[in-house]
Amino acid sequence: PLAPASSLPQSFLLKCLEQVRKIQADGAALQERLCATHKLCHPEELMLLGHALGIPQALLSSCSSQTLQLTDCLSQLHSGLLLYQGLLQALAGISPELAPTLDMLQLDVTDFATNIWQQMEDLGVAPAVQPTHGTIPTFTSAFQRRAGGVLVASNLQSFLELAYRVLRYLAEP
């Protein structure tokens, strides 16, 4: 495994921090619109539905500063982003008003995943075959896509919070 920080170019880390901030802004925009347009404002009101829908969450266990395993952390970050890419794709058709916001979020998440993957390739720590996002629930009604949107956006914000912290730690001179 890689030694922390030293092996990651500063420009890569700064770009990642920039991308995380952008995705957080996109995610917040989606949450705001779901609340304004569909009155779905609190993920806590949708926990039961979340269990039933079976929305998976991405872990960043190798990224905590105590047990930082850089290679594992990068690949967890990458597969987490792939998972959210898949979840966001499953939300397609959420509603005409939200479609542009959802598309932008999906594009930025995909860009961030590509950025991480290419850095892993440059470091020679990328697995031969790029992983896929695993099983993704299908949302069968407009309401489920909106409720799913609230839950996915909320989970994504928590995931990004963790990612931001580790990237900041790695970017510290």
Binding site: H38, K39, L40, E44, E45, L46, M47, L48, L49, A52, L53, G54, P137, T138, F139, T140, S141, F143, Q144, R146, A147
Partner: protein, 308 residues
């Protein structure tokens, strides 16, 4: 497949404003692992709605039914919820809409516009129905008094929400009768305006001619006092149409109303106006109409100012 936790069914997704609406919500057994007596609650927007009647169905699922006596919002969100710990969980949501049947569109009128070469029709849509209402201008080619339908004409769909539509030249037979009406449609029903039976060219509205002072020519004696000479240029797209025109004039200053002169045969292209107050500035305007065949008067031309 995904286990649905709860599913709302409504008597009708759209009702008339103020009418009652009934909804039922079925909680799937797997979702209500919360214990048999999970209580289903209803929210309209953010407000809890009392009056849900809950029962356990043969297959073990729970069903709650509620009737909202008067739906007074044109748009509202009805939520089926479940108490879970100290939180209220939303299991499904239905968008309720209420509004009015479309009013019968009225005051349908059409003009044949030779600049755009299209038949432009407009109408009064009537009051807001609070529902998405589509207006379509329908027509068919016919004979005489439009009793029989000869060829259909493709529908004319107005641009976003406008109460006018243009039927392009290629869909028109300019000298044949056609029947035209407007149809308004929303989720509650359809209403059609009375039918117009018209011949496009008979509702042509021309543009006014261009007025010019008649340039003085050496070989022609100047206009006698109290007289004015003017000429006009007919509107190009209307050159093939026989017309009659009218001239009106009024002193530029003072409150005298317009004096009318006509009909002037439109082909003469010039006119000498006499009987005016000498050394006075006059405003002159002209309009024309298809004649003797039917048509609408053009607007009055912009003013030409001449001094006697």
């Amino acid at each position: 497949g995904l286990e649905e936790c709860g599913r709302i069914k409504v008597s009708a997704p759209v009702v008339r404003l103020g009418d009652p609406i009934t909804a039922s919500c079925i909680i799937n057994q797997s979702c209500s692992h919360l214990g048999p007596e999970a209580q289903i609650l209803w929210k309209l927007g953010a407000e809890l709605q009392p009056g849900g009647r809950q029962q356990r169905l043969a297959d073990g699922t729970q069903e709650s039914t509620i009737t909202l006596p008067h739906l007074n919002h044109s748009w509202a969100l009805l939520s089926c919820c479940l108490r879970w710990g100290n939180s209220l969980q939303i299991l499904d949501q239905a968008e309720l809409q209420a509004g009015y049947l479309p009013a019968t569109p009225h005051n349908l009128s059409c003009l044949m516009n030779l600049t755009t070469n299209s038949l432009i029709c407009q109408w009064e849509p009537g009051p807001d129905t609070h529902l998405s209402t589509n207006f379509t201008l329908k027509s068919f080619k016919s004979r005489g008094s439009c009793q029989t339908k000869e060829d259909s004409i493709s529908n004319c769909v107005p641009e976003n929400g406008q109460s006018r539509c243009s039927i392009p030249r290629k869909h028109l037979k300019l000298y044949q009768h056609m029947s035209i009406w407007v149809q308004a449609e929303n989720a509650l029903g359809t209403r059609a305006s009375p039918q117009l039976c018209l011949v496009p060219m008979d509702v042509v509205k021309l543009e006014p001619p261009k007025l010019w002072a008649l340039d003085p020519r050496p070989e022609v004696a100047p206009p006698p006092p109290g007289c004015l000479r003017l000429r006009w240029e007919p509107w190009k797209p209307g050159l093939h149409i026989e017309q009659k025109c009218e001239l009106r004039h009024q002193p530029r200053l003072g409150a005298a109303s317009w004096a009318l002169v006509g009909p002037l045969p439109f082909k003469t292209l010039q006119h000498e106006l006499c009987g005016l107050v000498p050394s006075t500035a006059y405003a002159l305007q002209m309009r024309c109409t298809r004649w003797p065949l039917p048509g609408f008067w053009s607007d009055w031309s912009p003013s030409l100012e001449l001094t006697t």
